[in-house]
């Protein structure tokens, strides 16, 4: 029994970065902006967090740096996708490449260095859960949340009422980046407490798929993320079993495809915000 609890706890811990990144992505998608750059934002956040924690000796400052770096790093995407009304998918993809590249290049000098004072994991677990509840409350109980949802559903209608559509979308994208940065920071200063190139391990992509899977609902994201955490845990735990471990490692990716297909089959993606992925231009509705 105790082993089962321990296994579930590891799953929840591993699901936490997925959860946090998915919540951020949910936020910008609810405002109508797709950002496929999550993986890159996480990598940049992780590197910023590790570098700061390493040089200052403070894990807390590291987390702060990761959050800020993640937010700032989204700005090129925000500018291109919102202001220049370019293809959001391509722009996000570019951001993912750039983030991985930057982090890989600039992080080389931290490769293999241990972190002297890593942060404990549990506070991040509570934080992830708390953020999910907070995001739910924000979206459904506050006027600011209503504004954000309206911008994602019908930006033209919001614009007519004087809602600054672009500004809302910029903030949503930046917030999404901050969440991703936080997820990366958790990996760098707590979960792994080291920096390795490629340490985000495609969790960003999983987070994007999870957003669709949970129909853009923050509370459902909690369970979904922990479920993916469980899969990853099994990938590690069953390494020596009869099943070749590569299959278990490939499982999350296969599952993403299955999940996307199931979601599409069951409700034909009807839950997506109506203006998702569509650039907004005043006067062209």
């Amino acid at each position: 029994m105790e082993e089962v609890w321990a296994a579930l706890l590891r799953s929840v811990i591993f699901g936490t970065p997925i959860l946090i990144a998915a919540l951020g992505n949910l936020l910008n998608e609810r405002a109508g902006v797709v950002n496929l750059g999550v993986e890159g934002m996480m990598a940049v956040g992780a590197l910023a967090a590790f570098a700061t924690a390493q040089t200052t000796g403070s894990g807390g400052l590291g987390v702060l740096a990761g959050v800020l770096a993640g937010g700032l790093f989204t700005l090129p995407h925000a500018f291109v996708a919102i202001s220049l009304r370019a293809n959001q998918f391509v722009s996000g993809l570019a951001l993912a490449m750039l983030g991985l590249g930057l982090a890989g290049l600039l992080g080389k000098r931290f490769e293999g260095q241990p972190l002297l004072a890593p942060l404990p994991e549990m506070p991040f677990v509570y934080l992830g859960f708390g953020l999910a509840v907070a995001l739910w409350a924000f979206l459904y109980l506050t006027h600011a949340g209503l504004v954000l949802r309206s911008v994602g559903e019908n930006p033209a209608a919001a614009d007519l009422l004087g809602i600054p559509v672009y500004r809302v979308r910029y903030w949503a994208v930046a917030a999404g980046g901050m969440f991703a940065g936080l997820a990366g920071a958790f990996l760098a200063v707590s979960y792994r407490s080291s920096w390795t190139e490629g340490m985000t391990n495609q969790l960003g992509w999983i987070a994007i798929a999870l957003t669709i899977f949970v129909a853009w609902e923050p509370l459902r994201a909690v369970l979904g993320a922990y479920f993916f955490g469980l899969l990853y845990y099994l990938g590690f735990a069953l390494q020596d079993s009869a099943i070749p471990s590569v299959f278990l490692q490939a499982l999350p990716y296969a599952l993403v495809i299955v999940v996307l297909a199931l979601v599409a089959w069951r409700r034909r993606q009807g839950a997506a915000p109506e203006a998702l992925g569509l650039p907004y231009e005043r006067g062209r509705r």
């Binding site: 890159g40 722009s91 993809l93 750039l98 930057l102 080389k108 798929a209 296969a254 996307l260 089959w265």
Partner: protein
Amino acid sequence: MRLEYLPSPSPWRQAAAVALAILAALGVAGLVFWAYGVPPLTAYATLLRGTLADPNGWAEVLRRAIPLILVGAGLSLAFRAQFYNIGAEGQIAIGATAAAGVALFWPIEAPWMLPTMFLAGFLAGAAYALVAALLRAGLGVNEILTTLMLNYIAYYLVQYLVQGPWRGRSLFGFAFTDPFPPQAVLPTLPGTLVHWPTLVLGVLLALLLQFLLSRTTLGFRLRVVGANPQAARYVGIPVGPTLLVAALITGGLAGLAGVGEVASIHKKLLDSSNITLGYGFSAIIVAYLARGQPAWAILTAFLMAVLFAGGDVLKVAFQMPFRVMDVFSGLFLLFLIASDFFAQHRVRWGR
């Protein structure tokens, strides 16, 4: 300041915008090098010296251009049909795997071995792309995420093969297959890694796809489906099957690229990240630069190949990690899509 929309900007304006985007991307990449501790001018001088100013460098550029032409031409066509195939990495790996399977386990005589390998690679890559295309055509699943996920699945599949059933008997301790028999190895230009048969194949196929797109009824169908699927449905052009065709072509060409790489440079199957090397992602930029014209991909692939070979030079000269190529790719893509806006809008000052 205000912006004026230009419905049909001149070709010169578009070319200037692309040129500026490339310069800007190189500029920002220079800043990144500077942050890494290498003066930008030194970095670019080294890059040029190691590629275009050196015969061996040229050979390196050419060999990098081969997979980029094949994948880039296929992606140009796929993007015209609005099939956003991000899974060329996986299709390269699967194509390479199929070719390796033929080379290692099917004793075919010399003249037919390589054609069979290419055919197998094409079919395998095409079939692999078909998975995402079927999900898109049948259920409307976004192919960007599925093709991307299929990359990782392909990686682990190859991993399984080279560590398990296909692991070489002659190479203890390494995750390789046995080397290919001699009739399964492509000739190269002497003293280089330029497997010229694949290069010729790539150029021919790029031209063929260009012809297909602009002068055949299938090409017309692809263009209509890509530009306006609703209109395609309205006149009875089947959207789903047309998408599948686009997927088959783009996946097949990526598969061919994979065959070329294992049949010449590696001569065995190995960890697929060492085969694909990010060609599949860089080819997205090749296709984007080619503006959906497969023939132009021959030129734009060359441009990306310079960066690719240059990235290698930088790796060696300044101990940069292989991720340096992603910095180029990301910046190029960002600045290129931004440049579209400036090609289509004129900035006017005053009211």
